[in-house]
């Protein structure tokens, strides 16, 4: 049933929103961001910070936009003198106790207190006699530090642990100006999703130990990407500084991960910065691999494919892009083809408060994509088949152990033992260095974007594999490769990069698989 719409005016802008919408969300639709601290769309409303005070016509007092539901014909002014003055006072109160240590605070540059004080706060304080509090930094958990001095008691972290993680280990201890965030004395903040409190904290009170002092917020370049930690496919932002990935943060996607990501995914970025990469194509001369250029390496690969007949085996990584997986199969189209991948399995860690969101046991961001393209999980059988195959193609699967009588073509980011047996080893880009798509476990196709350049001569996997095709069929870009894929595979029919955008879209065949996903 479609929701009943109500119309209201916010700062002279007319908006229509579903009944029951909060004023703060309606204001976003009117293009107004009401300053707020305790409100977060992923958490229950608390209404404790009093920052989002707005003026509602015909109401005697100011209302907090985060806990007021819209009503038909409401006239809201966020910028009236009264509302502005009230918010200014709230900011002034917050700054009585907040230290001005922005130069050494990791949050500086992405701090909501900084932003809103700069936007509408007072230039000076009137509480010059009042001495600031000083409490030592506390170690909350494996990756979380608590700096009580900077805390503005918005309670987002408390509500996250209580209502979303369902492991209420945090609370507000003491009262009044002595209040601070307390942790249960016998617990640690070691929930697998606890890292989210750092993102939720609007100020620099909860800090990530991993990111501590690593970079300043304004030095970071942000790229939309997909987490490679498991098959959930959480939308993330890769923060890079001088072409090094320094942090991974969740990117809101209401259909997949809402506003959250797990600590496993958060810590799972160091491999993207590995220094021991293959930087040039290698081809076998006599007994050893020798560096060469792309032309020669590709010529050699095409020769191998052209000269061989019979069976071909592709051992692929479930971390390869859908485009590369598709083109790997296509390049071997003339053969009797077997494709397989192996999946690393770990512990499953669900986020209790969000349906269908968990750190999945299968640590394979594109396992579903590989399955849709005909790759199977019968990895051991494929390895056996590889022994007698004419061509074996290994796509970025460093753990592969293959003995074969045929020719081995290896595409990868690093040079594991299997690559040393190869006739040709081609350097390819990793997930942070190329554009592509992953299909998550629910059959949702999601794009990731290039965050940094690939080292040396490494090129994206779709390019290297595309070059093995006849000249007329070679894709010119990742988008082109995906168009070919969509045309050839019924599961991907009708999809294109433009349509996927930043949010992704369901495959047609995978649509039934992920029932129970929140809309």
């Amino acid at each position: 049933m479609p929701d009943e719409l109500v119309s209201l005016t916010i700062d002279d802008v007319q908006v229509s929103v579903p009944k029951g919408t909060l004023l703060i969300e309606a204001a976003k639709q009117a293009g107004v961001l009401v300053p707020h601290y305790c409100y977060h769309p992923g958490l229950p409303v608390a209404g404790v910070c009093r920052m989002c005070l707005v003026d509602v016509e015909k109401q005697p007092k100011l209302s907090i936009a985060c806990a007021t539901q819209v009503a038909d014909g409401m006239v809201v002014r966020t910028q009236s003198d009264q509302a502005k003055k009230a918010r200014q006072s709230v900011l002034e109160f917050l700054l009585i106790n907040h230290p001005l240590d922005c130069p050494i605070c990791d949050q500086a540059g992405e701090c909501e207190l900084q932003d809103f004080v700069f936007q509408e706060g007072r230039a000076g304080t009137r509480y010059t006699e009042y001495s600031k509090r000083f409490n030592p930094v506390e170690d909350f958990g494996p990756d979380v530090l608590y700096v009580p001095n900077r805390c503005i008691l918005c309670t987002r972290c408390v509500r996250f642990m209580e209502d979303v993680a369902k492991e209420p280990v945090l609370n507000v201890s003491e009262r009044g100006d002595r209040a601070f965030i307390g942790i249960h004395p016998e617990s640690r903040l070691d929930h697998p999703w606890a890292g989210n409190v750092v993102d939720l904290c609007p100020v620099g009170s909860l800090l990530s130990k991993d990111f501590l002092h690593k970079a300043r917020a304004w030095e970071l370049d942000k790229t939309a990407s997909i987490c490679t930690g498991c098959s959930q496919g959480c939308n993330v932002t890769l923060d890079t500084r001088e072409d090094v990935v320094v942090r991974v943060r969740p990117r809101p996607n209401l259909d997949v991960n809402r506003y959250f990501m797990c600590d496993h995914g958060r810590a799972h970025y160091r491999w993207m910065n590995r220094g021991d990469r293959i930087e040039a194509p290698l081809i076998r001369h006599g007994g050893e691999l020798r560096a060469t250029d792309w032309d020669e390496a590709l010529d050699r690969s095409r020769e191998i494919l052209k000269g061989a007949r019979g069976a071909a085996v592709a051992l692929v990584s479930p971390r390869a892009s859908t485009e590369a997986l598709f083109l790997a199969r296509r390049a071997l189209a003339a053969f009797e083809w077997t494709g397989a991948f192996q999946v690393v399995v770990g512990d499953e860690a669900p986020l209790a408060g969000v349906p269908n969101l968990a750190l999945r046991a299968e640590r394979a961001p594109n396992g579903k994509g590989a399955e849709l393209l005909g790759y199977t999980r019968a990895y051991a059988a494929a390895v056996t088949a590889a022994q007698s195959a004419a061509v074996v193609l290994v796509l970025d699967d460093p753990d592969a152990v293959v003995k074969t009588d045929g020719a081995l073509i290896y595409l990868g980011t690093v040079l594991p033992p299997v690559a040393r047996e190869a006739a040709v080893a081609l350097p390819i880009a990793n997930v942070a260095e190329e554009e592509g798509t992953f299909v998550n476990r629910d059959g949702r196709v999601q794009r990731y974007f290039q965050a940094k350049p690939a080292p040396g001569m490494a090129r994206p996997g779709w390019w290297a594999l595309g070059e093995l095709l006849p000249e007329a069929e070679r894709p010119a870009s990742a988008a082109d490769a995906f168009t070919q894929l969509a045309a050839a595979e019924p599961a991907f029919a009708g999809l294109s990069y433009g349509q996927l955008g930043f949010a992704g879209a369901r495959t047609t065949r995978g649509a039934g698989a992920g029932a129970g996903v929140p809309a």
């Binding site: 130069p103 050494i104 002092h213």
Partner: protein, 168 residues
């Protein structure tokens, strides 16, 4: 064909060089009795009526706290503001949990001495100095590391006139 040259007849008073010479000598010798204006650099670096401006922007100096540690907290604002991109900063944390610069280097060759680093510094740590004698035997000596910046003793620039902060 003979060339005709017209010879001007002028009075001796005007054609005699003696008079002009004496006039010049008189000017020269008169300087012996005027106040001296030449500064005897390098023995002398300032005179009563001329010193380097207190707003001079020369090579940098890092100020230190009572324990002799650099006041810098590695906030990253100076490398950010620097138009010449001459400041290299890597932050770290000491045993007491204080943020401090692990590496702080200024390439004085690249520096354009704009003074923005001093202006932006929230801790009043990095300063441009009232100093101009910077000769070295090797080019790489012009990359000043933290130790060297702290060891500088020259006065620091005031950047603006304290009596007239809004003036030019």
């Amino acid at each position: 064909m003979a060339v005709l040259v017209k010879v001007m007849k002028r009075p001796v008073k005007e054609t005699s060089y003696l008079r002009a010479t004496l006039k010049g000598m008189a000017l020269t010798f008169s300087h012996l009795f005027r106040p001296k204006v030449t500064m005897q650099y390098p023995e002398q670096k300032a005179t009563d009526d001329w010193t380097l401006s207190s707003r001079w922007r020369g090579t940098h100096r890092m100020l230190t706290d009572e324990q002799g540690r650099a006041k810098c907290v590695a906030c990253g604002l100076c490398p950010q503001i620097c138009p010449a991109n001459c400041i290299k900063l890597v932050p770290g944390e000491d045993e007491e949990g204080h943020r401090y610069p692990l590496i702080y280097e200024i390439d004085e060759f690249r520096c354009v001495f704009c003074g923005y680093c001093q202006e932006v510094c929230p801790e009043e740590a990095i300063h441009v100095g009232v100093h101009y004698e910077n000769s070295e035997y090797a080019r790489d000596r012009f990359v000043y590391d933290l130790e060297r910046l702290c060891a500088q003793t020259h006065p620091v620039s005031t950047l603006w006139d304290p009596a007239d902060p809004k003036g030019e």
